[in-house]
């Protein structure tokens, strides 16, 4: 059961770092190739959400990503933003946000460029949750185990037994 933990400063570039790591570790864990796109996308969405929250409320702290490759391939993305600032349910338990309604609703506003950008961002946030909920069969949102924040836990089956440990051990260092 190999584990990788990743902590990223909250920048869009490091959402990519997290996607890259998730895809690499998933591939190495022997996961079905058809799941890779889904994992990349879901991990990206969970990280985009956490990075967005950190940038608003906690830009100096790192977003945590933990990847474990047994018995299922599991990714936990944890933010450090107090739960009263972040929507804790992520809209995942209730009805799915209706994108058509979202698009229509966000048509309100003064029509300024800033309004438009804010509308896009709130659509992106809603759509991100829809993607997470729609893509990931095994998805959990819980309080961060230590301290403030929210943990988004996702897992996927590892069909073949975990790849045998390969590589060299060095008895003399």
């Amino acid at each position: 059961m190999a584990t990788v933990r990743l902590e990223i400063s909250p920048t869009p570039a490091h959402v990519r770092t997290a996607r890259l790591v998730a895809a690499a570790v998933a591939r190495r864990s022997g996961i079905d190739e058809v799941l890779l796109d889904e994992i990349r996308l879901a991990v990206g969405e969970a990280c985009s959400r956490a990075v967005g929250l950190h940038r608003m409320h906690s830009p100096q702290t790192l977003v945590h990503v933990e990847l474990t490759d047994g018995p299922r391939f599991t990714v936990v993305v944890t933010d450090a933003v107090p739960r009263d600032l972040a929507p804790t349910e992520l809209g995942l338990t209730g009805a799915m946000p209706d994108p058509v309604a979202l698009v229509a609703a966000s048509a309100a506003g003064t029509g300024s460029a800033e309004d438009a950008e804010i509308a896009e961002d709130s659509i992106a946030a809603g759509v991100g949750l829809a993607l997470l909920a729609g893509l990931v069969d095994d998805l959990d949102v819980v309080s961060a185990p230590h301290g403030v924040g929210t943990a988004v836990r996702m897992s996927w089956p590892l069909t073949p037994p975990a790849a045998p440990v390969r590589g060299a051990v060095r008895p003399f260092l």
């Binding site: 869009p12 959402v15 990206g44 950008e117 896009e120 659509i123 729609g134």
Partner: protein, 113 residues
């Protein structure tokens, strides 16, 4: 893979060919491109997504923003996409109901409105 953007005109339509990854990192570049086009009076836009390799919610948000901008000018924004993994993203999010999605640029260009 970085985002690549190239723009050309076909009649009164403006084709934006997008390649690479439209994600939280690159979507702002696409947003700027769409804003520029609309502000220059291009109100019928076709976004050719056949060479897109990755699309996330931020990218979708920018496409929705583009749609709203052209509609405010009585314009249109159509997508060209046949890649199943990208179409799936529109389906899951319900945004297939929001965007006209075409199989070819020719089809999108000849579509009404």
């Amino acid at each position: 893979m970085e985002l690549s953007l190239s723009t050309r005109a076909e009649g009164d339509r403006t084709i934006v060919e997008v390649g690479g990854e439209i994600d939280v990192y690159t979507a702002p570049t696409l947003r700027e491109q769409l804003i520029d086009l609309v502000s220059q009076g291009h109100q019928h836009i076709v976004v050719d997504m056949e060479r897109v390799e990755f699309l996330d919610s931020t990218g979708l948000g920018v496409l929705v923003g583009g749609l709203k901008r052209v509609r405010a000018q009585d314009g249109s924004l159509r997508l060209v996409c046949t890649q199943e993994r990208i179409l799936k993203i529109f389906r899951i999010t319900g945004l297939e109901k929001v965007f006209p999605i075409h199989a070819t640029v020719a089809e999108a260009v000849s579509a009404e409105g």
